[in-house]
Amino acid sequence: MVESWLRGISMYFYMVSASIRAQLQYRYAFIMNILGWAMTYAGTAITMWVLLYSFGTLEGWIFWELIFLFALAVLSWGVCMIFFFHFRSLDQYIVNGTFDRFLVRPIHPFFHFMAMKFDVGAFGQFLFSIVAVALSYSHLNLHWQAWQWLVFLGAVWGGTLIQGGLLVAISAMAFWTTRSERLYWVVMWPAKNLMNYPLTIYPRVIQLLVIFVLPFAFVNYLPALLLLGKTSQTMAPFWGFLSPFVGMIFFWLCFRLWMLGLNRYKSAGS
C-alpha cells in the first residue's frame, strides 16, 4: 500500500516535470500566459475600485477588505489550477478518443489524468494574489496571531480542495454529456465570480447553498471574516475554521462522482 503510494507520488512528479518542460517549449506563451492571468485579476481589482469610488462601502466592506476577500480566493484558485485546471478539458480527450490511453495503463486513471498537466499559468494567480494580500494586509493594518496564520493556510488548503473538487465534478460531466469545458466557463466561472463579493449581499438561499451544497463560502468569505476580524449577523465566526475539513469531504465526494462517470464511460463509450 505504502509502496504503491510512494510509486504514485514519484511518478506524479516525473510526469509533472515532463509537463513543465512541454510548456517551457513555448517560452513566449509561457510568460504571456502568466502575465495574462495576472492582468485579468488586476482588471477585476480595478473594477472593484471603480465600483467603490462613488459608493464607499459594499455592505460594510471597504475596498481593501474586498481586495483581500478576492485575493484569498485567487490564491487557492492558483494552487487548484496547478493540479486540476486541465480537468475542464476532459471532454476533448473523450471526444477525440485520447482518453482511452488512460485506461490501458497500469495506474489509476484519475491519477494518470491529473498528472497529465501541471498548469504553470497559475503563477499569474500567485503573482496577483500574493501582492494583493500583502497590500491589503498592510493597508488594513492587520497583525495576525499564529492561529490566524493557521486559518489562512487552512483556507488555502480547503479552497484548493473545494475548487479542485468542483473542477473534478465538472469534468465528470463529460462522461455523460461529452461537455465539460463549456460547463466550466458558463457555470463554474460565474459561480466563482459570485464569491468575489461578500456573501451577505446575496439572499439567504444562496448563502445556504454556498455553505452546505457547493461550499464556496469556505474558500474565502468565512475564513476572511476571521482573518479581517469582521462579524456577520448571520454566520458564527467559527465556521471559518472548518475550511480544510469541508474541502476534504467535498473533494472526496467529487472524486466518487468522477469514478461513477468513468464507469459509465466504460459501458457507454464516448
Binding site: 513555448y26 469610488y53 459608493f55 463549456r182 459570485l194 449581499i201 446575496y202
Partner: protein
C-alpha cells in the same frame, strides 16, 4: 434592374449563412442552456452588488436604484446577445488552424459572412432565451423602461450600432493572430477593455471624473454604455443624438481599421500562405 438582381442575390447568399447558423444553434441545445445559466448568474451577481451598494441610499449621482437595476438588466441581456456570436478565441482558433485562409478563397467577403452567421445564432438565442427570460424579469422586477416609442426605437438603433462596433473590434483583435504567435496578452487587454470601458457592468457616470474622460475618448463606450443609458433614460434630448453620432463615427473608424487589417491579413495569406 441588373444591380437589383445582384444585390438581392448577394443578400440571399449571406442570408443563407444566417439560416444555417440559426439551425446549427438550434441543434446545439446544450450550449443554449448553459449559456443562459451563466448569463443569469452574472445578472444575479451584479443585481445584488448594486442592491448592496445602494443599501440605505436613495439616489447616487442622480441615479435611482430602479434605473440602475434597469441598466444592469438591459446590459446583461445585450451581453447575452453579444456572447451568442463568434467569440474571440474561436476567431483566433480559425486563424491558427488556417480555416480563415481557406475562407478567403471563397467567393464572398469573410467579415460579412461571419457577421451574417452570427446574426443567425443570435436570432436563435434572442428568440428562445433572451426574450422569454428578460420579459419575465422585467415584468417581475418592474424597473425603469423606455417611456416613449421613440426612446425605444433609438435604443434599438444604438444597440445595433454597439453590436457592430464590438464586432469590428473583436474581429480586428482576432486577426492580430496572423502576426502574433501567442495572443494571450492581446486577449486579456480586449476582455478588460470591453468589460470596464464599455460600461457593461459599471455605468460611466459612476467613474471617477478623469477615468470617465478617458472612457469618453475610447470606442468601447458605444458598445453597451450608450444603448443602456438611452434605455434607462439617462441620456435624453440632444445628448442622445450626440451619443448616436459618436457611435456612428466610431463604427466607421473601427470598420475602416478592420478593413485595413483584413486587407493586410489577406495579403499575408496570398504572399506567405498564411
Amino acid at each position: 434592374m441588373i444591380l437589383e438582381v445582384i444585390i438581392l442575390g448577394t443578400f440571399k447568399m449571406y442570408g443563407e449563412f444566417s439560416r444555417k447558423s440559426f439551425q446549427r444553434a438550434a441543434a446545439y441545445r446544450f450550449d443554449a442552456w448553459t449559456r443562459i445559466i451563466g448569463n443569469v448568474m452574472f445578472l444575479f451577481m451584479w443585481g445584488f452588488i448594486w442592491y448592496g451598494l445602494y443599501h440605505g441610499k436613495g439616489e447616487v449621482e442622480g441615479v435611482s436604484f430602479q434605473a440602475m437595476l434597469s441598466y444592469i438588466l438591459i446590459s446583461q441581456a445585450l451581453q447575452g446577445l453579444h456572447g451568442a456570436g463568434t467569440p474571440l478565441w474561436e476567431i483566433q482558433e480559425r486563424v491558427r488552424t488556417g480555416d480563415i485562409a481557406m475562407e478567403m478563397l471563397r467567393p464572398y467577403d469573410y467579415p460579412t459572412r461571419m457577421l451574417f452567421s452570427d446574426f443567425g445564432s443570435i436570432t436563435f438565442y434572442f428568440m428562445t432565451a433572451i426574450v422569454p427570460l428578460y420579459t419575465v424579469l422585467f415584468l417581475v422586477l418592474k424597473p425603469v423602461v423606455p417611456t416613449s416609442f421613440s426612446q425605444g426605437g433609438l435604443f434599438v438603433v444604438s444597440a445595433i450600432l454597439g453590436y457592430l462596433i464590438r464586432y469590428c473590434i473583436e474581429l480586428t483583435f482576432g486577426l492580430f493572430t496572423f502576426w502574433l504567435v501567442e495572443t494571450g496578452g492581446v486577449e486579456d487587454i480586449f476582455y478588460f477593455a470591453i468589460s470596464l470601458f464599455s460600461g457593461s457592468v459599471i455605468p460611466l457616470w459612476f467613474f471617477p471624473g478623469w477615468l470617465e474622460q478617458v472612457a469618453g475618448y475610447l470606442p468601447f463606450q458605444g458598445i453597451f454604455f450608450v444603448p443602456n443609458s438611452i434605455f434607462v433614460g439617462q441620456l435624453t434630448g440632444q445628448a442622445v443624438w450626440d451619443a448616436l453620432l459618436s457611435q456612428v463615427i466610431w463604427l466607421l473608424i473601427c470598420y475602416a481599421i478592420l478593413r485595413f487589417v483584413w486587407a493586410k491579413a489577406s495579403m499575408k495569406i496570398v504572399i506567405q500562405g498564411g
